[in-house]
């Protein structure tokens, strides 16, 4: 008999970075039915049964429940007051056999060979290790800066990366296996992009939903509100390497053309070449910008090695070093500019290297009490927005934060963070402190006052409200709510997955 979920009667739950706590009714650990063998449909059916039993029990007891993966979110998106269903042991993975693809699948021969199913507990690191192996020779086309999030958590909250010609991490997904309640589980695909044969879905016991694109585009970025995502199917690309080119440059008119309009011909740093990945970290305390321009290179066919290495004699911030730093900087604001210069080099990788995507955006030293929020605007608003945020920094005094500029193409997901044709995602990163939190709140107010349209990263600190969600996403909000009701028609089922985070944003009920 498969290992059954194990209850842990803990009442306090913290996110990975320990930036907040949540009172819960307890935690369930779920286990893979067979860890030593390759994932099968029977394994997925067993895990589905276990999730359905827990969801039904939660509903019966009037409790809420949500899946908890790596607990990576800095926002309260994944929180529940009921049972936290810990999924980070559910790391089954399977290659999709082209013979199992629906006749309507429109992909090329290469695309048909590049599909993988990952259970929700696989981290981004796990995904990279599987697909980038010499045997598989595939890559993600984009990745966030970190790799500790689960694939379900990272994609549900809109993790994006900065690959200039691609969308966000959730834009890899072509099918979602969603467990809605004690009776129903769904295999959701886009109508315009059928993937698996109906017979395969039937074998899984799931109800196939691919009658319209909106349902898929709602479920793929839904931060746990539609139920438990047991697995996703992702489309990968042939493996490539990235060669990083880091550098520090002055923020002058030539650099503004790159940062504000993605014109890479004006500044000599780029040698006239558009990078595959581009990030500019503006330190508002100085006129310096840390640049990362990563160029795509041909695969070398080697087996990638991963891992975090560290000079045993190095000095750096401890696991909770930023807590103390936050207190000190709160008391002595004059130290912030000097700290920010130091922190940029600690928080962002400045080493020149070549590797696979999974190696470049790999393991990072773990740090508690980081502060991070992201605001996305349309590229034409880039310079105006950045200048407004730099001015805000000057207005409210030095704050231990820097502005990381990343770029991503539009996603079809209804509530995607990357909702503009070319999106500038400004990642406001630094130390969690009173002044940082004040900056996050004031940043949204300032952009609103200037009439700049924006979205905010669902998985990071954000100041989204019902009004702001409606303004940012317009008619997509109603479509998203309709899709939620289609999958969870009974309000008691929806209530299981409601939390304060979605209530405050007008997305509950």
């Amino acid at each position: 008999m498969a290992r059954q979920p194990s209850f842990n009667p803990v009442k306090q739950w913290k996110n990975f970075h320990e930036s907040y706590e949540q009172v819960i009714a307890g935690e369930y650990d779920l286990f893979m039915p067979r860890h030593s063998a390759g994932l099968t449909i029977e394994d997925m059916k067993e895990t589905t049964r276990q999730f359905q039993t827990l969801i039904a029990d939660a509903r019966k007891q009037g409790l809420k429940a949500r899946a908890i993966g790596s607990a990576w979110s800095l926002s309260r998106a994944p929180t529940t007051t009921g049972w936290a269903l810990n999924t980070n042991r559910l790391r089954g993975r399977m290659k999709i056999d082209p013979a199992d693809l629906d006749a309507g699948h429109t992909g090329t021969a290469d695309e048909k060979q590049g599909l993988y199913l990952f259970q929700c507990g696989n981290t981004v690191a796990d995904v990279n290790k599987v697909i980038e192996s010499k045997d598989q020779g595939r890559s993600l086309f984009t990745s966030g800066a970190a790799n500790g999030q689960t694939i379900a958590g990272a994609t549900s909250c809109g993790t994006h990366g900065s690959a200039l010609r691609h969308g966000a991490l959730h834009d890899h997904i072509v099918a979602v296996h969603l467990i809605a309640n004690g009776d129903n589980h769904f295999w959701i695909e886009r109508k315009s992009e059928p993937v698996m044969k109906a017979a395969w879905v039937k074998q899984l016991g799931a109800t196939l939903k691919r009658d319209d694109d909106d349902l898929f585009n709602a479920a793929v970025v839904s931060f746990g509100s539609f139920g438990i995502i047991q697995a996703v199917v992702i489309q990968t690309v042939p493996r490539y390497l990235l060669e990083t080119k880091p550098g520090i440059e002055k923020l002058d008119e030539k650099l503004w053309k790159a940062i504000g309009a993605l014109d890479f011909k004006a500044h000599p740093f780029f040698g006239g070449l558009e990078p595959y990945f581009f990030q500019a970290v503006i330190n508002p305390a100085t006129d310096e910008v840390l640049l990362n321009a990563n160029y795509q290179r041909a695969d070398d066919g080697r087996e990638p090695e991963y891992g975090l290495t560290q000079d045993p004699k190095a000095i750096g911030p401890g696991f909770d070093g930023l807590s103390t730093v936050g207190i000190i900087l709160g008391a002595f604001k004059g130290l912030i500019p000097a700290f920010s210069q130091l922190a940029v080099k600690q928080l962002f990788d400045t080493a020149k290297k070549t590797g696979t995507s999974g190696q470049i955006y790999g393991y990072k030293p773990p740090l508690l009490h980081v502060a991070s929020g992201s605001i996305a605007v349309a590229l034409p608003d880039a310079r105006k927005t950045l200048e407004a945020l730099i001015q805000l920094y000057k207005d409210i005094g030095p704050v231990p934060l820097v502005l990381g500029c990343r770029y991503v193409k539009k996603s079809p997901a209804l509530l995607a963070f990357n909702t503009y044709p070319r999106t500038l995602a400004i990642s406001i990163d630094g130390v969690d402190s009173k002044s940082s939190r004040a900056f996050f709140a004031a940043a949204a107010d300032r952009l609103e006052a200037l009439g700049i349209g924006f979205t905010q990263h669902w998985g990071k600190v954000n100041a989204m409200t019902k009004a702001r969600v409606l303004k940012a996403y317009g008619g997509n909000v109603a479509k998203w709510l309709k899709a939620r009701k289609e999958l969870l028609p009974d309000d008691k089922d929806r209530a299981v997955f409601d939390n304060a985070y979605i209530e405050e944003r007008g997305l509950a009920g």
């Binding site: 893979m32 099968t40 980070n88 401890g318 909770d320």
Partner: protein
């Protein structure tokens, strides 16, 4: 004071578990005698161990000249290796 121990490629299983410990007489006597990582099951090992002492715990240790030294141990289990890659056609064991 706190110090974190973890491998180069941590694969965390479950949530961090907190155990409050005390050592007496310069660690000659401990309560509990050792921290049992009882949430690590089915072959799971440890992914992370964090030993920390907050200000109050440090003060007790300092005042008692180390005769009583409370601390907090936070451990997180590690996934027991990487499961092999299955196949949608159902072979279930392709590696």
């Amino acid at each position: 004071m706190q110090y974190l121990v973890q491998p180069t490629e941590p694969s965390l299983a479950g949530s961090p578990q907190t155990v409050h410990v005390k050592s007496y007489l310069g660690s000659e006597v401990q309560q509990p005698p050792y921290v049992l990582a009882q949430r690590c099951q089915d072959g799971e090992q440890l992914a992370r161990v964090l030993v920390k002492r907050d200000f109050l715990q440090g003060l007790v240790s300092w005042i008692s000249l180390g005769l009583i030294a409370p601390a907090t141990v936070v451990y997180t289990c590690a996934n027991a290796g990487d499961p092999p890659l299955g196949n949608s056609s159902g072979s279930g064991g392709r590696e």
